[in-house]
Amino acid sequence: MIALKIAFRNISRQKKRSFLLAGAIAFGMLVITLLNALSGGVVENIRVNFSHALGGHIFIMGREFSGEGRMIHKIRPDQRLDQLLDENAASIRGFSKRSQAVPSLIFGSKQTMHLLYGVDFEEEDQLLESLAVTAGSLSGVSREGNALILPKPVGERLGVEPGETVLVKLETLSGQQNVGEFKVKAFIEDQEQFGLSAAYANRSYLNDLLGIGSQEYQMLNMFVADLSRLDDLTRVFREGLKSPEELEESKFEELEEEEALLEVSVGGVPLDPMMGGEEIKPWEGTRYQVMSLNQIMEPVELMVGVLNQVGLVIFLILLSVTMVGITNTFRMIMIERIREIGTMRAFGMQRREIKRIFLLEAFFLGLLGSAGGILLTALLAFILSKIRFGADPALQFFLRQGQITFSFSAASILINTALVLVISLIAAYWPARASAKLPPVEALSSHT
């Protein structure tokens, strides 16, 4: 108890020195905690932004071959799929069956290409509520077959106003040219703010233009109820949708299959590095591709993992510098207090007690530094998260509604704090042992 008191008194005795040491520790703590929280926040934001932009957590696509041997992406009404959706209804928060195209939107002499989703507005009743209208109105969208909802920047680029008609040029799935007339009903806020927000239209009309049946669609997007079960659910659908022939084939090429499914798509645009690579043998009927957000996030998380490791290395370097500082400081402290130690020993204090005073002092320095660092981080994070960043689309991808978000992990804070404490104790251990070993008489006779 006395040791504790003396340790505290010693810390407060040399305020400036203690402040500098604790400050160094706090700075290291600040860097690592802020970086971890920032990267955690970025991963979360990218995940949320992706799932918004892609409209789900699990994506199912159907592929079949047309009579002319052309691969067509579409899903026909399928009992197998409906049954799977029913069976797993509890795990699914919502799903949408959409068609999609990247058509040329034309108004007068202006044209631009943009992602367009064909949506069954009755089925996806929440979608319309979630859209932030900036001009026009969404009422009656589902009744007007050729209604079109445009992200505001696209509307501005085309110079069109709600109520006017734009032309939509696309190719049918079999490769024929087609043009539809759409009436712009409303502009919506570019929700994702990174320019990848889609335009929306009625699925049946888009299907007409794409040359597929009104009950058919191209992609089934699912939001799951519990993200931790995402991989399991993905597997359930992937396995459940395999045709008997595929099951037969997959016995032989299980590994290849896994790799082939690692197809990344951004904003509905598949980024397929194997284009024109291997030849695919045409098959009968529809085959499904099931992808999850986790697959898309894999490279992102890998990158963030590297970033965190870099952060950890910086943290460890800072700590080892601090450690040398602590050791040196405690040596100095020992020399300064050599008479004091002699007195304490003369009053009958045990060596163990002396050592404990020094170690406790280091421990509390570390604790103070860590706590200060965490507090500073919280303060900085609070201020930073209040800043709203401009409209640069590429940057918005990492943000949530234009703001930086931080995701603090209690476990990593605790581990880092423990690391700081252990290192402080190790740093102080040698000077502490040396002071404890000082013979009392020598210590008393010292003139320093």
Partner: protein, 253 residues
């Protein structure tokens, strides 16, 4: 009653007869299409021309490109030499079967590459440089007689027989006497006019008649059109040494 029966039969006969006439005429039109396809074919001889392509885009402005082309009668060997724009002058594309060499005069290097799908970014598709295949890809929906400029024409409506051609519906203006396509309109699946093509000049090249002036109008984007003019046409024999790297090197700066 008898009168009525007569009228009925007369009407029926007229109907049958007229439909017979119609069928007969459609057959005539199909023959015209076959002739159009046949006379667009000139791939049994060497061919050389200077192609001027002007792309007008309301947003990008006017871009002009002049290309000298040589084609071997076997259809496997091409040489394209870019004359304009001046920044690309001297660049050459030498094509032989599946191999394409791109020559850059400033580094004097032949880069061996694969064949690209579209030739520059314009309304002109590869199909425009190939021969027409109206008779095999389309069936006649109907026709009527019309006048275009000073020419008596047939106005023929075509529908694609399958999904292999990009435009499902086409309307042609064909001269009645010489069977030349003066104008074509290409429609989307929803029967919306997408592109108009005008062919106001032809050249007799051996047994073939090829358009020497093409005007392709994008009917969806206001003010976007492409013009192609062929000049200095020649079908005389091209020596072998033209389709070689040495010729490309010699002719470029």
């Amino acid at each position: 009653m008898e009168r009525l029966r007569f009228v009925f039969w007369a009407l029926l006969a007229l109907l049958v007869l007229s439909s017979g006439v119609l069928a007969q005429d459609l057959r005539e039109i199909e023959k015209i299409l076959e002739k159009i396809d046949a006379q667009s074919r000139f791939d049994d001889q060497d061919f050389s021309a200077l192609m001027t392509m002007i792309v007008e885009d309301p947003e990008k402005g006017i871009e002009k490109m002049v290309v000298r082309q040589f084609r071997r009668d076997d259809g496997r060997r091409f040489l394209l030499l870019i004359q304009e724009p001046s920044t690309q002058k001297g660049q050459g594309y030498l094509l032989e079967g599946e191999n394409l060499w791109f020559y850059d005069p400033s580094s004097r290097k032949f880069a061996h590459t694969s064949l690209k799908e579209t030739f520059q970014d314009s309304d002109a598709r590869n199909a425009d440089f190939n021969q027409w295949t109206y008779s095999s890809s389309y069936q006649v929906e109907g026709y009527q007689e019309d006048v275009l400029g000073k020419f008596q024409v047939y106005l023929i409506d075509l529908e694609a027989v399958d999904e292999t051609v990009p435009f499902p519906f086409v309307r042609l203006w064909v001269t009645q006497d010489s069977h030349l396509v003066l104008k074509s309109e290409e429609y989307s699946l929803t029967r919306r006019l997408m592109r108009s093509s005008l062919f106001p000049k032809y050249a007799q090249v051996g047994g073939a008649l090829i358009p020497t002036q093409l005007i392709l109008v994008d009917e969806l984007v206001e003010g976007k059109k492409t013009q192609i003019a062929l000049s200095e046409i020649s079908v005389s024999k091209i020596p072998d040494h033209v389709f070689t790297k040495s010729y490309v090197e010699r002719v470029s700066r």
